[in-house]
């Protein structure tokens, strides 16, 4: 008796749902089926959330590259189109981006910024045979999985960790350090390679601990470090902001004065904003920023033009913007040299990329897809938050 009015309501609702779904179909299929075969590059980056500063800057760079290629006639007539997807810096959402790239049949992918996303996503793109060029994921595992479709234009964590260790041991001349990481793939990678290299050089890692990247209070862990502090000469942190800024601020607040070194997940305005005065004098290892590549006597001409054009349109780029730009250019170059936009041809073209001169220097992919000419510098944070290139490992080895 009491269920009387129910079915009718349901019928009406389900009918409405079908109509809505059908309407959605029409509108969506309209967007998918675009003009005559563009060359679609899927671009996945954190476009919202705490890492969006980098992600959005990279998006500008990628769009800039696409429009420049298109202005010059595209890839053998095929216009480059960017299909952007927000990973929100979380693996499940990022992997869903990879799935959507597969279902959209994109020609190539630039992404996924975070190593923790790039690694599982690369598996999905590998199954679908879609070429992927990473502009910012530095974890070594990404290219060590044996996937032929995966390349990266940036450097790797082991190299970065080693540069930090070299700097700490040889330049700062410290022997006992604490290595912290934020438990994410990237931070763990840098911190553990830092630790390994530092031990190899003869130093000692007194403590090695993971902290929660989402937390804001690190005083407990810092108090512990302080209690052993006479013997600790440096704190290294592998991870991102705001954790890094909070960490150094709270460390200085507790009276811990030892040098602090972190990585290129940290470099950028947010570090100074969160850490304030306390960040001044700390060290950051990083791939050269676009600004840096365009400066000084070794300035790269392509980097200069990139920087000028970027600044004119969007203001100052963050550090991986140049690499993101480069990734699109390298893909376009591969398709052009192979005279094909077919996935396997683009992959072959990428694998054959050697001595390509772009915005970040030379791109030269080895057999597993790593760029064998990465650069890392040690920066020192200046009063006011600017970063100054402080030490160049390559320059030193020359002398």
């Amino acid at each position: 008796m009491s269920l009387r009015s129910c079915p009718r309501v349901l019928a009406a609702l389900s009918a409405a749902a079908v109509v809505a779904a059908a309407a959605a179909t029409v509108s969506l299929s309209a967007t998918v089926a675009a003009a005559s075969s563009p060359f679609v590059i899927g671009f996945a980056n954190p476009l919202t959330g705490s890492e969006a500063t980098y992600g959005v800057s990279d998006e500008h760079a990628v769009n800039m590259a696409a429009s420049q290629i298109n202005k010059a006639g595209g890839i053998d007539g095929h216009k480059v189109k960017i299909d952007a997807c927000d990973t929100q810096a979380t693996p499940a959402i990022g992997v869903a981006c990879a799935d959507s790239f597969v279902s959209d049949h994109v020609n190539a992918v630039v992404g996924f910024f975070n190593s923790s996303i790039s690694i599982p996503a690369s598996g999905i793109l590998h199954k679908a045979d879609i070429p992927m060029v990473s502009a910012a994921s530095t974890n070594p595992t990404l290219t060590e999985q044996g996937f032929k479709n995966v390349f990266r234009v940036c450097g790797t964590d082991n190299y970065q960790g080693a540069v930090e260790a070299d700097f700490a041991y040889k330049i700062l001349k410290v022997r006992r350090v604490v290595a912290l990481n934020d438990e994410e793939t990237y931070g763990q990678g840098v911190a553990s390679f830092f630790g390994q290299s530092f031990k190899k050089l003869g130093g000692k890692v007194v403590e090695d601990e993971g902290i929660d990247a989402d937390a804001t209070d690190f005083t407990s862990v810092l108090t512990q470090i302080k209690s052993i502090s006479p013997s600790v000469q440096l704190i290294e942190f592998g991870g991102f902001n705001p954790a890094a800024g909070l960490l150094i601020k709270q460390a200085r607040g507790l009276g811990i004065t030892v040098p602090f070194i972190s990585d290129d997940g940290v470099i950028g305005p947010l570090y100074y904003q969160t850490g304030g005065q306390s960040t001044v004098g700390t060290y950051l290892s990083s791939s050269p920023t676009p600004q840096n590549l365009a400066q000084g006597k070794d300035a790269i001409p392509a980097a200069k033009t990139f920087l000028q054009q970027y600044v004119k349109q969007f203001g100052q780029p963050t550090e991986y913007a140049g690499y993101s730009y480069e990734a699109v250019e390298v893909i376009a170059n591969a398709a052009k040299t192979e005279h094909s936009i077919a996935a396997n041809k683009v992959i072959a073209g990428l694998a054959a990329t050697h001595n390509y001169r772009g915005t970040t220097g030379i791109v030269d992919f080895n057999s597993i897809g790593n760029n064998i000419t990465p650069q890392y510098l040690i920066y020192k944070v200046q009063p006011g938050g600017g970063n100054k290139a402080y030490w160049n490992p390559n320059a030193k080895s020359k002398s």
Binding site: T53, T216, D217, S220, Q224, K226, P242, Q250, L254
Partner: protein
């Protein structure tokens, strides 16, 4: 653990705990009067923190450089606005449901909480915002303990607010009306107390305390995130239960206890387990001693 480290950990815990206690005050006061876990409190705390960033930055733009007046003005404006928001929350999400079964206001306050943090997320684009640095980061040495001047001020400000609120409830006429309403709403109404207005006032005061907590937290850590209300709200609720929900001085005791406990927890366990430990403490207390350390001020009715 050395004595120095022990004292330092206690000090760290007390600073964090004082902020939690302040949020807990909002839970405990509302619960005392209407027997409702006002989930929205976590959202009000977060909104307060964000309003704080906004006004603080604004004052910086108008050239108000002296940190203490700037903090005070920010506090007053944000607490007022958040109090007004709490008033709206009560009107919209609680009052129409005050005679409904328990589930309804619980779900509506949860929805309200979620609405508040989602709005913050949308408005700010989910990026963490930073408070301008107010005081020099130079550490203060108090015997064996080292604290930043900011955290010292935060601690005393939070305690001051909590003691003030307690005195307000205990000594003023309105406070007396609040206590009467908490003890027996009908009887209070019969005595001529406008209980509807008292309920509103309680929400407003709770929201204002939450906003104060948000700003103090922001000033201390320098960074606010759109999801701070989630964890902050839950820890504060743990504090409220620990002190005995409905018990105003209990909020302070509970806050400080939770702060110190979580500070110690991360010395014995890896730091990243900190949150899980707070949750575990919460479950344990609710299972073993739901009336809290000091006991609930208001006897539970069937």
């Amino acid at each position: 653990m050395s004595l120095q480290e022990l004292l330092q950990q206690i000090a760290n815990g007390l600073v964090v705990g004082s902020v939690y206690g302040l949020i807990a005050l909002g839970y405990t006061m509302v619960y005392g009067i209407v027997r409702l876990i006002n989930f929205a409190q976590g959202g009000l705390y977060e909104v307060g923190a964000y309003l704080g960033v906004f006004f603080f930055t604004l004052m910086g733009k108008f050239g108000l450089q002296y940190p203490i007046p700037a903090v005070l003005i920010t506090l007053v404006i944000s607490m007022t606005l958040t109090g007004a928001l709490a008033f709206v929350v009560e009107r919209v999400a609680y009052r129409p449901l005050r005679n409904a079964p328990l589930l309804a206001p619980l779900v509506s306050s949860l929805a309200m909480f979620f609405l508040l943090i989602s709005v913050v997320q949308v408005v700010t684009g989910a990026e963490p915002l930073t408070y301008p640095s107010v005081l020099s980061p130079a550490p203060l040495h108090l015997g064996p303990i080292v604290l930043s001047p900011t955290s010292l001020i935060i601690f005393f400000a939070a305690i001051l607010l909590m003691v003030g609120m307690q005195q307000f409830v205990r000594r003023t006429k309105v406070g007396k009306a609040m206590r009467a309403t908490a003890a027996n709403r009908e009887a209070a109404a019969l005595m001529g107390i406008n209980t509807t207005r008292i309920v509103s006032l309680t929400f407003v005061l709770g929201g204002a305390m939450g906003a104060a907590a948000g700003i103090l937290y922001g000033v201390n850590y320098g960074t606010v995130t759109y999801d701070m209300g989630e964890f902050g709200g839950l820890v504060a609720f743990t504090a409220a239960v620990m002190g005995g929900i409905g018990n105003v001085p209990g909020a302070l005791v509970g806050g400080l206890t939770v702060g110190v406990l979580s500070s110690f927890a991360s010395t014995f366990l890896p730091n990243q387990w900190n949150e899980a430990i707070v949750f575990a403490i919460l479950i344990l207390i609710l299972a073993i001693r739901p009336q809290g350390i000091l006991g609930e001020r208001v006897a539970e009715r069937a």
